[in-house]
């Protein structure tokens, strides 16, 4: 826990200063989680605001302060999921706005300004995000929480309110889907080389 139970109880009782302290304590972690869940740094603040807004207005529903962290994660997951769903609806029209050549040029210009290490990170980030884009929002979030955020099955159980076995099945399927996309992406260049 990053804050005392007492602070959470005070925030529940309507103490705005205590709520402020809770936000300050958790915002960095929540920002990082959202950034990895949605993959768009420019929208992280908006989603984080939504998370803390939901937290403020639902804090009185929290029965015990012990479950605060999984509960906050659940709010984060829900807000990220809502964002990803909205984003998916918009994505087609956004892609239509830019031609492939424009996208490549923008990438090249942005890449030229960065160091090699930064470029490598950017490539990894983009590649993993393209893999995660091939699966549903639910699979993406679940897999990111487990494999990237490093949450345990016990923690995921509390967030999703499902038993461990169901969670394992969902995780296995999500991982298989991403693995399939990864395999396909690895075979494409090989085929292209063989063909060329």
């Amino acid at each position: 826990m990053l804050v005392d139970f007492e602070q959470i109880q005070k925030a529940q009782a309507g103490d705005d200063a205590a709520f402020n302290r809770v936000v300050v304590a958790y915002r960095k972690r929540i920002f990082g989680t959202i950034a990895r869940l949605i993959g768009r740094p420019e929208d992280v603040e908006d989603v984080a605001q939504e998370v803390f807004l939901r937290l403020y207005f639902s804090l009185d529903q929290l029965r015990t302060p012990e479950v605060f962290e999984p509960w906050l994660y659940r709010l984060t997951v829900n807000a990220s999921y809502d964002y990803l769903r909205r984003q998916r609806r918009r994505s087609e029209s956004r892609m239509a706005d830019l031609s492939e050549q424009q996208v490549m040029m923008a990438d090249a210009v942005a890449g030229g300004k960065q160091s090699h290490e930064e470029q490598r990170r950017k490539q990894v980030k983009e590649f993993v995000e393209s893999l995660l884009d091939t699966v549903s929002e639910e699979d993406r979030i679940l897999l990111t929480l487990k494999e990237v955020e490093g949450l345990s099955l016990k923690e995921l159980e509390k967030i999703y309110s499902v038993n461990e076995n169901a969670l394992k099945v969902r995780l296995f399927r999500a991982r298989q889907r991403v693995l399939k996309a990864f395999e396909a992406s690895q075979r494409k260049p090989a085929k292209a080389e063989a063909g060329g």
Binding site: N20, V23, V24, R27, K28, R29, F31, G32, A35, R36, G39, P41, E45, A48, Q49, F52, L53, Y56, F57, R121, K122, V124, K125, F127, V128, L131, L143, E147, V148, E149, G150, R175, V178, L179, F182, E183, Q186
Partner: protein
């Protein structure tokens, strides 16, 4: 398959490092409180509106109950509306006119009355 599995795991952990935790800018907290205050005022207005609506509905219910339970003053003065339906029917069909039509009331019924 295992090779891909390991590569994917390595990629995911590398992805974790490529998106490190970062803190909010200075505007984050003021903006958050603005949004909280805006939502609070909307909720407050909705609460007030609901209270007014509930009070109005309760007053209307009382009024309607009053209209239904208390008989109107004009109705008590109207002879046609006094007494039961059977009395009114009996008044409008005297025995004489019923006898003219060949309808004879039972003696026991007349005695009982």
């Amino acid at each position: 398959m295992d090779k891909f599995y390991d590569e994917l795991n390595a990629l995911l952990s590398e992805y974790r490092d490529s998106v490190p935790d970062f803190d909010a800018n200075a505007e984050f907290m003021p903006k958050l409180w603005q949004r909280i205050d805006a939502r609070r005022s909307v909720i407050f207005r909705m609460k007030r509106l609901t209270q007014v609506f509930v009070a109005g509905a309760a007053a209307l219910c009382l009024l309607m109950a009053g209209v239904l339970v208390l008989p109107p003053a004009s109705a008590s003065n109207d002879p046609a509306l006094r007494g039961s339906y059977a009395d009114i029917l009996a008044e409008s069909h005297p025995i004489e006119s019923l006898a003219a039509l060949g309808i004879v009331r039972d003696a026991s019924e007349l005695n009982g009355k």
